[in-house]
């Protein structure tokens, strides 16, 4: 009975060890990809700095108000592992408000204004039409807020930025996605390691018990 339990725990340990090794291998692969992507990003940044000027790509260009375009969601699973996944932040309510307030400053009427139009010609129908035409432009600023150009960090460095800076941005975007995957893998590696440790302790306890039982038999 004791021996079969010992065999079972050994098999379980073997399975966990194999899983642990697989996770480490995958982690190493992803690390290599991450490192090469970061290097690629730096290379593109250096190229952009070369074409724009030494001081044009630095911390001095960071905007005074920065809002994230990417966020991550952390889901804790039953096994205790944490899964990280990235998500793009599409629209922000605060920036939407700002854009609308700027739009309000501009002209409210869409068509050409007739300054000398006598008041008596304005009928109720026209007044309704005017009201409806005024309602239309209120919708468009909300759409614009989704594509707020101030949000793109590329614009911090100028309007016409070199292609290499765009390439750098692309590389770092990929790095961000990959880093979430690596963070997930890291937590699962640590989790499996803990499981292995516990499994080993259990196995040693079983071995001690089995050895004690054998010694008792010999003594009898």
């Amino acid at each position: 009975m004791g021996v079969s339990e010992l065999d079972e725990s050994s098999l379980l340990l073997d399975e966990k060890l194999l899983r642990f090794m697989d996770q480490l291998e995958l982690l190493e692969e992803k690390r290599v990809t991450l490192n090469s992507l970061i290097e690629q990003g730096w290379f593109s940044l250096s190229k952009a700095r070369y074409s724009m000027g030494n001081k044009q790509v630095s911390a001095l260009q960071y905007a005074s108000e920065i809002e994230p375009l990417v966020c991550i969601h952390a889901r804790t699973q039953d096994s205790g592992e944490v899964e990280f996944c990235t998500e793009k932040v599409t629209g922000c309510q605060e920036s939407g408000k700002d854009v609308r307030s700027i739009e309000d400053i501009g002209p409210q009427e869409v068509g050409v204004r007739k300054r000398n139009k006598p008041k008596k010609h304005i009928t109720e129908k026209e007044a309704n039409d005017k009201a409806s035409s005024e309602k239309v432009p209120e919708v468009s600023p909300l759409k614009k807020s989704d594509l707020n150009p101030q949000q793109d960090p590329l614009k911090w460095f100028g309007i016409l930025v070199p292609h290499s800076l765009k390439q750098a941005q692309l590389s770092f975007k990929q790095v961000i996605e990959l880093s979430a995957e690596i963070a997930t893998l890291q937590t699962s590696v640590l989790n499996t390691r803990q499981e292995l440790k516990n499994g080993m302790k259990d196995k040693y306890n079983l071995q001690d018990k089995a050895l004690g039982a054998q010694l008792d038999k010999v003594a009898d």
Binding site: L24, I38, A180, L196
Partner: protein, 114 residues
Amino acid sequence: MAGRGKLIAVIGDEDTCTGFLLGGIGELNKNRKPNFLVVEKDTNINCGIFLARIDIGIILINQFIAEMIRHAIDAHMQSIPAVLEIPSKEHPYDASKDSILRRAKGMFSADDFR
């Protein structure tokens, strides 16, 4: 904040921070506290400010900076925020220094067989 998810923080040299901010992870919150730290020669590194923030999910840190505050990183045992060591321009990534891989390697040390 809770609705839109957690942030990614960066502690690194200028180019690393610039790159990741280009990628869109940067934030300056209402208290004007950033989620990034550009480390220069005389910068006082305190990763505790990011480790204590509940709105941060992952901390990316240059490995050479992580080496300076290794005690704090080794003492951090929670899964969130996850700490990821990344290479820097002048210091390539060394897996033997990575805190996670060192812990994993510790699996096969004599202490674990006791």
